[in-house]
């Protein structure tokens, strides 16, 4: 058995999600190779070579891989798929965009967002916003899988696997990147943060969100998150969203502030170690999953909490 992990990176550095994916590959068992495809991404390939459990890094460099578009990357993965029994990528927007395309080109199913490995062909994955866990067995010769990163601890480092350059495929010319508006933040990344301060509709405005939650997040060195309601209302950008269709997080501490707790939101955070809910409605569903609930006016409680830390 040999497993190919598709690295997620921004050419300069590996994304943390790659480490969880390599860890999941380790659970499957077999020789793990990592594909780093990009442009000017040798540093990312070197970082991949240091990951524990990696036997080889394959590096494909070409200008048309710089933007990580699915069409060109999928063609490259398929051209290099021979000999692999498993192809894994993180279940991030990168992996979710890419791997179904790879699977269809290989004429195999794709198994989305696994949270457990039962055996090399049997996996556990959440369905219905995490309200059920399905155990599925694949009959395909190649298992193409995205990995829920919060379900696998990051792999270790300190390895020195060889990096082998591989040939690029021709540019398909189907897609062109026009631009990116990436949220710039000094805070920890939402997917990897130990503490998350998350706000919902109860904050009533974007101004309140920033005024109340940022000082609290500063004190806790926390990432900032939000419910769908807060994103839809324009309080914060889309990449703050935690939930079934947003990011899935599992920090040590999750503070849900002014969030009622729709099942779609709970799907994204209920694996957090400790959940704190602050809400004025004592019947809000968020209290059913919270370890510590505080009923009251968040406009009074949050500044008090910030001051007390």
């Amino acid at each position: 058995m040999a497993i190919l992990v598709i690295a997620e990176h921004d050419n300069a550095a590996l994304k943390a999600a790659t480490l969880n994916t390599v860890a999941a590959a380790g659970k499957v068992g077999g020789e793990v190779h990592v594909l780093v495809a990009g442009s000017g991404c040798a540093a990312a390939a070197q970082a991949a070579a240091q990951l524990a459990g990696v036997a080889k890094v394959k590096l494909a460099e070409a200008p048309h891989y710089a933007d990580q578009t699915a069409e060109n990357l999928a063609a490259l993965v398929v051209a290099n798929a021979s000999g692999y029994t498993h192809i894994l990528a993180p279940a991030t927007t990168f992996g979710k965009n890419l791997l179904p395309r790879v699977a269809a080109l290989l004429d195999v199913a794709q198994i989305s967002e696994i949270c457990g490995v039962e055996s090399p062909d049997t996996f556990v994955r959440p369905i219905y916003a995490g309200n059920a866990l399905a155990t599925v067995k694949s009959s395909d010769p190649v298992k193409v899988i995205t990995v829920r990163t919060t379900a696998f601890d990051a792999c270790g480092q300190g390895n020195a696997a060889p990096v082998e350059a591989i040939a690029a495929c021709p540019d398909l010319g189907l897609t062109q990147l026009v631009g990116r508006e990436l949220t710039k933040s000094e805070r920890p990344e939402l997917g990897a943060a130990k503490v998350i301060v998350s706000g919902g509709r109860g904050l009533a405005s974007g101004e309140n969100y920033h005024k109340l939650l940022e000082p609290l997040a500063d004190k806790l060195n926390a990432a900032l998150g939000a419910s769908r309601a807060a994103v839809d209302a324009g309080f914060v950008p889309n990449d703050y969203q935690v939930g079934q269709t947003g990011k899935v997080v599992a920090p040590q501490l999750y503070l849900a502030i002014g969030i009622s707790g729709a099942i779609q939101h709970l799907a994204g955070m209920k694996d957090s170690k400790v959940i704190v809910a602050i809400n004025k409605d004592p019947d809000a569903p968020i209290f059913a999953v919270a370890d510590y609930g505080l009923v009251g006016d968040l406009f009074q409680i949050v500044p008090e909490l910030t001051a007390a830390l």
């Binding site: 699915a70 069409e71 999928a74 991030t92 927007t93 990168f94 965009n97 791997l99 179904p100 395309r101 790879v102 699977a103 269809a104 080109l105 195999v108 199913a109 794709q110 989305s112 959440p126 369905i127 219905y128 309200n131 059920a132 866990l133 399905a134 155990t135 599925v136 694949s138 009959s139 395909d140 010319g173 189907l174 897609t175 062109q176 990147l177 026009v178 631009g179 990116r180 508006e181 949220t183 997917g191 503490v195 889309n238 990449d239 079934q244 269709t245 990011k247 040590q252 501490l253 400790v274 959940i275 704190v276 209290f287 059913a288 510590y292 609930g293 505080l294 009923v295 008090e304 007390a308």
Partner: protein, 253 residues
Amino acid sequence: MKVLVPVKRVIDYNVKVRVKADQSGVELAGVKMALNPFDEIAVEEGVRLKEAGIAAEVVAVSCGATVCQEQLRTALALGADRAILVETDAAQAETLQSLAVAKLLKAVCDKEQPQLVILGKQAIDDDANQTGQMLAALLGWPQATFASKVSVADGKAQVTREIDGGLETLSIRLPAIVTTDLRLNEPRYATLPNIMKAKKKPMDVLKPAELGVDIAPRLTTLKVAEPPKRQAGVKVADVAELVAKLKNEAKVI
């Protein structure tokens, strides 16, 4: 330009899903079904393109059992012009997986020759998030997934995508695949006159065998279980008690 909008029948998003006692799946008997919310957004986007004079026709497609006609009628009531049901029997519908659906949709695309296919990014039942990307692969078309803005001009679509770090805008050549994210639009409600009109709109029925597609599943579901339940904790009286609990009991700060 013709726009094709594939739609899926799923359990209504307001329903609390229950796992069957024998762990063979989730309870579907007597449960309210609906159009997958992301597909509703896809229909709305197609209809808006038509209202803007960009699309000439919006065709809704669904793959599954006869009952999927209900969701196609909903799509028609929202403004789709006609519908196609790729009909399977009820047992096949239960094991219809993304790859098989993508293959059926490819066959429909070969017949219909749309310039744009708009799909929901995921269905809220299996949360797979695959069909659009797979269809794009099978057709060899470009894809723009998780769209929050779509504009079409000069044989190209410019699509803003919601990605983990923020937003990304792609220019893709038509024909192409777009999958919808939550903030692409706010779907309209079907009005009663439009629901009545929808009953008279044409609906074709095709069979997978006519399309030459093998819909056998590749994945077998061994069991469906309840996730571990999280116990509700305690209510604290004030901030001081909360901080004390977090420090001394949970030890997370």
